[in-house]
Amino acid sequence: MAQETTRTTRRGLLDPERAAAILKVIPPNALDTQRRMGYFVEPRWKRLSEYEALTCYSQPTPDWIPGGLDWGDWTQKFHGGRPSWGNELTELRSSDWHKHRDPARRWHHPYVKNKSEEAGYTQRFLQGYSAEGQIRTMDPFWRDEMISKYWGAMIFNEYGMFNAHSSVVRDCLGDTIRSSATFAAFDKNDNAQMIQMERVFISKVLSGFPESTDEPKLVWTTDPVYRGARVLIEELWQGIQDFNEILWSTHCVYDPLFGQFVRREFFLRLAPFFGDSLTPFFINQTQTYFQTTRDAMSDLYLTTLCDDMQFSSLNRRFLRLWTDKWLSQTVTALKDFMGLYDKVPVIAGVTDEASVKEALTRVFSDWVHDYVDKIDGKVDTKKIIDLIMTGYK
């Protein structure tokens, strides 16, 4: 008698007869004692984390790309024969491209869970802010000139950095690198959207405030204040082939200097002086993302690649080379940005020359501590700050 075939499926777990039949053929004892998925993965911490178990070695690279567990050639290549992934995709070398770990141990679920909570809180904050009419305390000049146009122009700065990650996410040679890079990119896209969200919000509570991106884009594309930044962002976006150079130049040179200065030392620092408690709410989310990304990039470059047992010296040389290359353009971007101080009133202890110098010193000091010292680099911070300050009128 042939077994029945029916489109009304009996569920093997719930149908008593079938469930009993299944239980009969399940051996009473387990056939193996190893119940930890990915038990062969070297844990970074005391025990293999869920993040490591779910992420490590999902990339199916062959063993001629260090760390790979597969063998042989690619089964389909690009037109002309270029391989799917290869060691030539970067100048850096690693004895194991699967060694990087995100210190925040983010896999998809915790990542979106955190951002979802931020999304919910953002909407509740905005509702409370609007219900209180807090917008009334924001200085109109700050709101209409600085926030609408110049903070608005940062949409494109963040959006450009976001786009710089597309080829990184395509090309990078390890699964943990791929997720760290993607989350960094997603945060950058979020940052750009949050700036526009703030502008849309103001336009909803204050009729006449322009939500259009036309003016910010005009500032970004034509205003000398952002000229250096724009040229650099365009280069980061599509001018670099090497996925490591893109990540290093974006997250370890440009953003810790220009991004941190503009966000933290200009808009975040000045906002309270203009009665603006709205912009800091958004910027502080951005700053949280910045710090999480900083930790991930530090692990990738400083812990993993700079301390690689075989290629430490070579990798440090390249990171110093890339730092020099991108620092000079970043300095130009900051020098151009100094022009924005000309558009705001002098506030003692905040926007006067000495205070701006102090702000630059804070940013450069953080950067030297976080990156430069750790790649045995040398930077004449005073000279650089003096050069940047030539843009301060």
């Binding site: 077994q3 053929v25 399940i26 089964t75 799917s84 609007s130 080829s167 949050m194």
Partner: protein, 525 residues
């Protein structure tokens, strides 16, 4: 403070709205298209012969925070079900063992597809010029990370609860041993990421996702449930909720190139190649996993294939794209023939090489054999007799020292690997459309099994150079290969792969070595 009188006047005239006000995602998204700006160096690192339009829109219009909110809710439901309800029911060890083994392959191989789709969607994000289109591809990048982790979570869950964790716990390390792996990489890895960006999109979104995710991710849940597995439906159906957006991305990719009359020169050829590439592997492998990897059958694979691939995709989905000049692939009719027999052909070869698997395979029992014969008339005389002969020779019993690949060799049934698809085939036993053809190129022999793949290779041989398992392992004794590939359990002696799903009579490395089975390359012998 430098505030103009005009600005002051205008500001004072504004009326503050004190109603609780938020910003919905659409109010932000509608500005996204303006986030781009023109600059001289703006070009992609992944050029395409197609021209993607600058004003292409995306259909789902989600921003980062809304994406996170949506996915977090789905995750809560899914992980809540798994980690609470299904765990307390002991559901992780209440599926039929045949199906528990199938999920070692299905979840891990799907994971590879999802993982490579991260890179594939990133390539499209790089290639697209429209901001909305980039945003759509970005959401897909994120989804593919989600799906990679979800597939892994199935193996993770099974590792903890299923009575045979071996293979679930180390699939990423042991999957490369066997003959099914390289073909899987062709369709689910390299086919998505190596080539013209739009050609890759056609492979991933227009064929892989719009066509084969229906049987792979949707139909599989019905088979799973029938065999006692409620883990897989909880996860795979959650995955499928994202796939709809990916199909829309594929649709929008076609929309973005449709304005260019030159597109029609390439699109149908690329679609035909992509369809043949994907079906060449999925048609036999999915059919084999469903029918031979289950005890309780849902329906014959040929019917599932006909409904999802031939009618739903080849007819309705491609029909919708007809206004853009897209036609059903000419290879569809050849594929339809393969849907009947190809998975039976493949099971013979997979079972013959069972020690190289990271899962246990079982011969169909008497009741199942009757089902095969009833649904595929003529099955028993061709396949059933061979399987029964292997059973009679003791293939399940380690004391027999008999591996079925030895029977194939002894009876002159050479097993080749198709260079383009990397799918193994045995021309003297195949009832599907496979026929052998061999070419010599660069002092190397290359075997092929069909016209469509052979044509791809003849056009661009440099794209398909990968060695087969038989070339790689030629001359090596099989237990040596298995040990080297970590195909051994935690006790250090019992094989992960087994030719049955019982709890006793497990083969060890010693048993396998005693069989004296040595790999040979059919192209050199």
């Amino acid at each position: 403070m430098a505030l103009s009188a005009a600005t002051t006047a205008a500001t004072e005239a504004l009326k503050v709205n004190r109603a609780p006000t938020g910003v919905n995602p659409q109010e932000v998204h509608r500005w996204m298209q303006s986030f781009n700006w023109d600059f001289a160096k703006n070009r992609t690192k992944y050029p395409t012969k197609y021209h993607m339009a600058n004003d292409t829109k995306e259909q789902f219009k989600i921003i980062a925070k809304e994406y996170a909110r949506m996915e977090a809710i789905k995750d809560e439901r899914q992980f809540g079900t798994l980690l609470d309800g299904l765990s307390r029911l002991g559901a992780g060890n209440r599926m039929h063992p045949k199906w528990g083994e199938t999920m070692k392959v299905a979840s891990n191989f799907l994971e590879v597809g999802e993982y490579n789709a991260i890179a594939a969607a990133a390539m499209l994000w790089d290639s697209a010029t429209a901001s909305e289109q980039k945003n759509g591809y970005l959401a897909q990048v994120m989804d593919e990370i989600r799906h990679t982790h979800q597939c892994a979570f199935i193996n993770h869950f099974y590792s903890k609860h299923y009575h045979d964790p071996a293979g679930h716990n180390d699939a990423r390390r042991t999957r490369a041993i066997g003959p099914l792996w390289k073909g899987m990489k062709r369709v689910f890895a390299d086919g998505f990421i190596s080539g013209d960006a739009v050609e890759c999109s056609v492979n991933l979104q227009l064929v892989g996702e719009a066509c084969f995710t229906n049987p792979l991710i949707v139909a599989v849940t019905e088979w799973a449930s029938a065999n006692g597995d409620e883990i897989t439906p909880s996860v795979f159906l959650s995955i499928e909720t994202d796939e709809l957006r990916h199909m829309a991305n594929g649709y929008q990719t076609v929309v973005s190139i449709a304005h260019d009359p030159a597109s029609s020169k390439y699109l149908n050829t690329d679609l035909n190649n992509a369809f043949w590439t994907q079906q060449k592997y999925f048609t036999p492998v999915l059919g084999m996993l469903f029918e031979y990897g289950s005890k309780y059958k849902v329906e014959p694979w040929v019917k599932t294939w006909n409904r999802w691939v031939y009618e739903d995709w080849g007819g309705i989905w491609i029909g919708r794209l007809g206004k853009f000049g897209v036609q059903s692939p000419p290879s569809l009719k050849d594929a339809k023939q393969d849907a009947y027999w190809a998975h039976h052909d493949l099971f013979l070869l997979a079972y013959a090489l069972w020690p190289t698997g990271f899962f246990r395979l079982a011969l169909p029992d008497e009741e199942e054999m009757q089902w095969f014969e009833a649904n595929y008339p003529g099955w028993y005389d061709h396949y059933g007799k061979i399987l029964n002969e292997w059973r009679a020779l003791g293939c399940e019993d380690p004391s027999s020292k008999f591996i079925p690949i030895q029977w194939l060799e002894k009876n002159g049934h050479k097993v080749y690997v198709d260079r383009v698809s990397q799918v193994p085939f045995c021309p003297s036993l195949a009832k599907s459309t496979n026929t052998l053809r061999i070419h010599e190129y660069n002092n190397q022999l290359h075997s092929f099994s069909d016209d469509w793949g052979e044509r791809m290779w003849l056009t661009e041989p440099e794209r398909y150079e990968c060695q087969s398992v038989f070339e790689q392992y030629a001359g090596r004794e099989i237990s040596e290969v298995v040990v080297e590939g970590h195909g051994v359990r935690a006790d250090g002696k019992t094989l992960i792969g087994q030719p049955h799903v019982r709890g006793d009579k497990l083969w060890t490395v010693e048993d396998l070595r005693a069989a004296g089975c040595v790999f040979s390359d059919p192209l050199r012998n």
